[in-house]
């Protein structure tokens, strides 16, 4: 079965081709179901490969399949090839599973949109690229998927292309990602020069010989690749595109900008865990950037009023968590959180989409409130998502977040502190969004109130499925201290070489201090509940508190609300200055200097010729005169010599 892995990316590609090339006259239902079925078929194949892997010996759960040679030039030999191992299978299942649910939801959400077919074509293309990214067995094919998802992200953010802000956001996403990809590409070049191959297995096998632990080369390679990860996964300093990406249709935000694409960087770092483990400096950088992003984005999330922006900053923050997990060496926990996050964040976005749908496109939470009665399913599922992300027992986020915090503490208490601060803010802003949206007085505009309705089953059923997953999704990873972490055990062979370097030869499982872990657990639970009560007090018990706080610290609020003016700073530093300099180059250098010289040479020639032309008067007496002068000159020269 695992040699059929190529079917997994192929199905969505077929779906994309069917809808894109010949679906022009098909009704929406057919287009939507073709798109969904294609992704569903990928999930079925991925799940059967997963079952097959389970039946295999844990040590041999790694199968490569090469389809054909893609680029062959000198020593460079890049196949179109796939790698099936626990890590890639988990990713494939998450991508195709969550992807399929979001496709179905989209049939309802996008109904009646002008570009319905275009939407599903792009969405299938995205899933194709994403599945290529996670199943590739070499760096370059991974890069193909990597840029491919960036393209689809660009196309789907700019889906409402008539809106300037949407097409701006799409372009920004693509360009910022390209900055990251630049680092990724240089990293790939460096890997090829070092190893002579781009295949993961070949690189990992040769890594102990070609690289020294903590050496400059491995540090440089991993940092360059991490630059790519900060672009795709929206980490400091390249996170600015993600909030703007909310211009896309909401299911796109759910699929691409929450559940799958943005996790690509986490996947990449985990995939290359061996290399990162050999570079302690890079590990620290990853952990610090991750932890810092987690806190930083959470602070912005607190102040936003646009429900999708709140979720966007929350995504950046949660991705920071995942990177922090990788940076402290808990790769399996990072992937675990990646999976649970895919469930609950997709859920939150789609529930927010359902709210939008009900309110004729309203996104501002200041014009919501009291919606729980009108939107019962949406309300309930949004609560599930919130409980999961806040880390309330026994929801999925509780287990994954707790695991990360535990390993962070083991590495250094400061990482734990970053995680804990981010956690309390997460809990706060999520419950804030719950209260502002579904509780309290209704602030819905009368016009929107007229059309207020719960979404159709095609949208609510996917919500319910994801809500269930958000509840039980964490159970595969409980509890660490009992040594029953099924999820971690499944992934363990992939990360074993990295763990061996990080923790020495002996395995790290079963070494946890149960009291410490239980203590940390209690603290994080207290944090989550504390966030809930704080939000309840500020937005239900005494709704005047937020305004008081703002008037107390107006400058601070202003700064955070405006996202620390980072976009503006980037504009001044990079965008405007380069554009201005380019204009200068064009006008003052290209036109004036270079072309000036070219035309100057021509002009000088013309002037010279014009001068000479005066001699050619056509009058015989002038010529005779010049002959006379010539003769005199020659004679004079001969005489005076």
């Amino acid at each position: 079965m695992s040699d059929l892995v190529w079917l997994i990316p192929l199905f969505p590609l077929i779906g994309c081709a069917l809808n894109g090339l010949i679906g022009r006259r098909w009704p929406e239902k057919i287009i939507g179901w073709i798109g969904s079925a294609a992704v569903g078929a990928s999930f079925v194949v991925a799940a059967s490969i997963f079952l097959e892997l389970l039946g295999m010996d844990p040590g041999s759960r790694s199968v490569e399949t090469n389809i054909y040679t893609w680029i062959l030039s000198g020593q460079l030999n890049v196949p179109i090839g796939f790698l099936v191992d626990p890590l890639s299978v988990v990713m494939m299942m998450v991508v195709s599973g969550v992807g399929c649910i979001i496709h179905v939801y989209s049939i309802g959400y996008m109904a009646g949109e002008v570009g319905f077919r275009r939407y599903f074509t792009y969405l299938n293309l995205f899933v194709f690229a994403m599945l290529t990214l996670v199943s590739a067995n070499n760096f370059l094919l991974m890069f193909v998927g990597w840029e491919g998802v960036g393209l689809c992200s660009y196309l789907l953010i700019g889906y409402y292309y008539e809106k300037k802000s949407a097409s701006d956001a799409g372009k920004k996403a693509f360009v910022v990602n390209r900055v990251g990809d630049f680092g990724f590409l240089i990293g790939i070049l460096l890997i090829f020069v070092t190893f002579g191959t781009l295949n993961f297995t070949g690189v990992f096998a040769a890594a102990p010989d070609k690289l020294t632990h903590g050496g400059t080369l491995v540090t440089l390679i991993t940092l360059l690749l991490f630059v790519g990860a900060t672009g795709k996964s929206a980490q400091i300093p390249l996170y600015t595109w993600l909030p703007d990406a909310m211009e896309g249709p909401t299911p796109v935000s759910a699929l691409i900008h929450a559940a799958t694409m943005v996790t690509a960087g986490v996947y990449m770092v985990s995939r290359l865990s061996l290399l990162y483990a050999m570079a302690p400096v890079s590990m620290t950088v990853v952990a610090v950037i991750g932890g810092a992003t987690a806190v930083y984005a959470a602070t912005i999330g607190i102040t936003q009023f646009d429900i999708k922006r709140v979720l966007a900053y929350s995504t950046i923050s949660q991705l920071g968590y995942m990177f922090m997990a990788c940076g402290v060496g808990a790769f399996a926990s990072g992937i675990f959180h990646l999976m649970t996050h895919a469930f609950f964040k997709a859920l939150l976005f789609m529930a927010a989409g359902s709210v939008m749908h009900a309110l004729s496109g309203e996104l501002d939470m200041r014009y919501m409130g009291g919606l729980r009665k009108k939107l019962p399913y949406t309300h309930l599922t949004y609560i599930f998502g919130t409980l999961a992300i806040a880390g309330i027992f026994p929801f999925a986020g509780f287990f994954s977040k707790d695991e990360i915090l535990f390993f962070a503490f083991e590495r250094h208490w400061a990482f734990w502190a970053l995680g804990a601060i981010a956690a309390i803010m997460t809990s706060f802003y999520m419950f804030r969004s719950v209260f502002m949206t579904f509780y309290g007085e209704s602030r819905v505009t009368p016009e929107a109130a007229k059309h207020l309705h719960e979404s159709p089953p095609i949208m609510t059923i996917p919500l319910v499925i994801l809500a269930i997953l958000s509840l039980v999704g964490g159970l595969v990873g409980i509890p660490i201290f009992a040594g029953l972490n099924r999820f971690g055990d499944f992934l363990a062979p992939v990360f074993a070489p990295a763990q061996a370097i990080l923790h020495g030869a002996h395995a790290e499982a079963g070494h946890h201090e149960i009291t410490l872990e239980l203590g940390l657990l209690a603290v994080s639970l207290a944090i989550a509940i504390g966030g809930f009560f704080l939000a309840r007090w500020m937005y239900i018990t005494d709704p005047s508190v937020p305004d008081k706080v703002i008037s107390e610290y107006p400058d601070l609020h202003e700064m955070v609300y405006h996202k620390y003016w980072v976009d503006e700073i980037y504009d001044v530093l990079f965008v405007n200055s380069i554009v201005r300099f380019s204009r200068f180059l064009w006008k003052a250098f290209d036109d004036a200097v270079i072309d000036g010289i070219v035309n100057g040479v021509a002009g000088a020639m013309r002037g010279w010729a014009r001068g000479l032309r005066r001699v050619q008067t056509g009058l015989v007496k002038d010529y005779a005169l010049s002959i006379l002068f010539g003769v005199l000159l020659v004679i004079g020269y001969l005489v005076l010599r």
Binding site: I71, L151, Y161, K171, R178, F182, D590
Partner: protein, 531 residues
């Protein structure tokens, strides 16, 4: 090679010329008939090209299907044609574009149709001749032949406002370079003749002649100028934006797709193998110019207000990549460089066709005059988007394979050049996507854009073959990389062995000089090598 078989190379060179002659005898008023004759001629040429491809032995790096006829034996001038893995796909590109440009000009050109078609056909003969000539004299003849029709295309059918300025600039600029090259060719001819006793313009024989170092430098410089202007390399590029902007659509297409490749091809075929020492010594500054071209072209492209000028400056950037890869002298770099010549021909050629399609409808090229075109021309938007992405170097399409190989090959020998060049990939995304956004996205603000018709069947036929190759090269580049591999290998080997041989000869001469009394050289060398 077997001389009994049909001279296919001559066939593809001269079929367009025959077509041009035929057109001369037809009545100038029957536009449709004239166009059909030209189209059929180009199609026949394409078929000839396919036959050549089919007969080509992909496992050999040697010159194939060679033809040889004595022309002016007393001066060692011959009619000699040959094709190898380096020129194969440039020929294919040229014959593929032949019918495409005739079709693309079907509606665009309405005055002096006959002369226009004759120019295109003669140009085709000149271009194919340049790629196939294995005799320096013959090469020079074709090189100049192709100049005249291009001059007329810009000067007669160009944009009335500045067409003469652009045409004259193009011709004068090119001629300055070509004359220097002619001088170098003659010097080489006499130098090789004196040394070996055989006066010949035969390229393959001249390959084996070792030009002394000092002479190599000057001759390389002359060839460099001729080809660098044609490429064009920074800072010899300013004729290009003018020529592109003022030329009619198909003029720009041919100019970008094929004519610019004359420069890069000239380096691989002539300048480098004839003068390898000088070429390798020049690596650093040529690479620097190439990298400057990549970044500079991208930046200046970014702020252009005219779509055609933007695409023209993007060519400066793309051809910087071609030059950079070629001067890495690595397998990946050179293969990538040659592939990128084809890629640039396909995607930039296609972009000029795209610009031509909206120019035909709106008679403006200013970005600001457009906006929201996607709404009224959805099929056009799809083609435009894919060619834009191809130009940006998106993986899965052609540009990526070429750029990656170039960057990899360069990185192996000069990491920093590759790093700086790679940043050009970011700016490529900026200028192309920004342009695309301003032209295609947003609301239609200009009422003139409301009634625009989407692509006609003819326009789809024009664009579709280019699209097919854009995808093909991206997904399965082996079709193209494999046939060029033996020839590229031979190219690199020739450069290396010949370079070593020349150094050996030089050292031997130096040694004799020192032995005859002057110890200066040796002691001087000793000083420098001590460091």
């Amino acid at each position: 090679m077997e001389s009994s078989s049909f001279p296919w190379l001559s066939f593809i060179v001269f079929v367009p010329l025959v077509g041009a002659l035929l057109l001369l005898f037809l009545d100038r008023r029957y536009h449709t008939l004239l166009r059909w004759v030209a189209l059929v001629t180009m199609l026949a040429d394409l078929v000839g090209g396919i036959v050549v491809y089919w007969m080509f032995d992909t496992s050999s790096g040697a010159m194939q299907l060679s033809e040889f006829h004595r022309w002016v034996p007393s001066w060692g001038i011959a009619y000699k044609l040959g094709i190898d893995g380096i020129s194969l796909f440039l020929i294919m590109l040229t014959v593929l574009l032949g019918p495409i440009v005739i079709l693309a000009s079907w509606k665009d050109i309405q005055n002096r149709v006959k002369e226009f078609l004759v120019c295109l056909l003669v140009l085709q003969t000149g271009m194919i001749g340049v790629f196939l000539s294995m005799d320096l004299f013959l090469f020079y003849v074709f090189w100049e032949v192709m100049l005249i029709p291009m001059y007329l295309l810009i000067g007669v059918w160009g944009n009335p406002a500045r067409k003469l300025y652009a045409a004259i600039k193009f011709v004068l600029y090119t001629i300055v370079g070509s004359l220097l090259m002619l001088a170098a060719i003659l010097v080489l001819y006499f130098m090789a003749g004196q040394a070996t006793g055989v006066y010949t313009f035969d390229l393959l024989k001249l390959y084996d002649f070792h030009v002394p170092l000092q002479a190599q430098f000057w001759m390389f410089l002359a060839f460099f100028l001729a080809f660098a202007i044609k490429v064009p390399m920074f800072p010899f590029h300013t004729w290009l934006p003018d020529a592109h902007t003022e030329a009619p659509t198909v003029g720009s297409v041919v100019l970008a797709a094929v004519l610019l490749k004359m420069g890069t091809y000239g380096f691989v075929r002539f300048a480098i193998p004839l003068f390898p020492n000088a070429a390798i010594d020049a690596t650093w500054w040529i690479s620097v110019l190439a990298v400057i071209g990549i970044i500079y072209g991208a930046w200046v492209a970014m702020v252009q207000v005219d779509v055609k000028r933007l695409v023209a400056f993007s060519s400066v950037s793309h051809l910087g990549f071609v030059m950079l890869g070629m001067f890495s002298f690595t397998m990946q770099g050179v293969q990538g460089s040659i592939l990128q010549m084809i890629n640039h021909g396909l995607s930039t050629g296609a972009l000029f066709l795209i610009v031509g399609i909206i120019y035909e409808r709106r008679h403006t090229r200013l970005i600001a005059d457009f906006g929201g075109i996607s709404k009224v021309m959805p099929a056009f938007a799809v083609f435009f988007m894919i060619f834009t992405l191809s130009s940006i170097g998106l993986p899965g399409l052609n540009g990526f394979v070429g750029e990656f190989l170039i960057l990899l090959g360069t990185f192996r020998v000069h990491p920093w050049y590759a790093v700086i060049a790679a940043s050009g990939v970011i700016f490529a995304a900026v200028y192309m996507l920004w342009m695309f956004q301003r032209v295609m996205f947003g609301k239609i603000t200009n009422p003139k854009n409301l009634g625009l018709k989407d692509l006609s069947a003819r326009e789809v036929v024009v664009l579709l073959p280019l699209l097919a190759f854009v995808v093909w090269i991206g997904v399965y580049p082996d079709t193209f990389l494999k046939p060029m591999e033996p020839a590229v290998k031979k190219f690199i080997e020739r450069v290396e062995t010949k370079r070593a041989a020349v150094i050996k000869i030089e050292n031997a001469r130096k040694l004799t000089v020192t032995n005859s009394g002057l110890k200066l050289t040796l002691s001087g060398r000793g000083l420098t090598t001590d460091r």
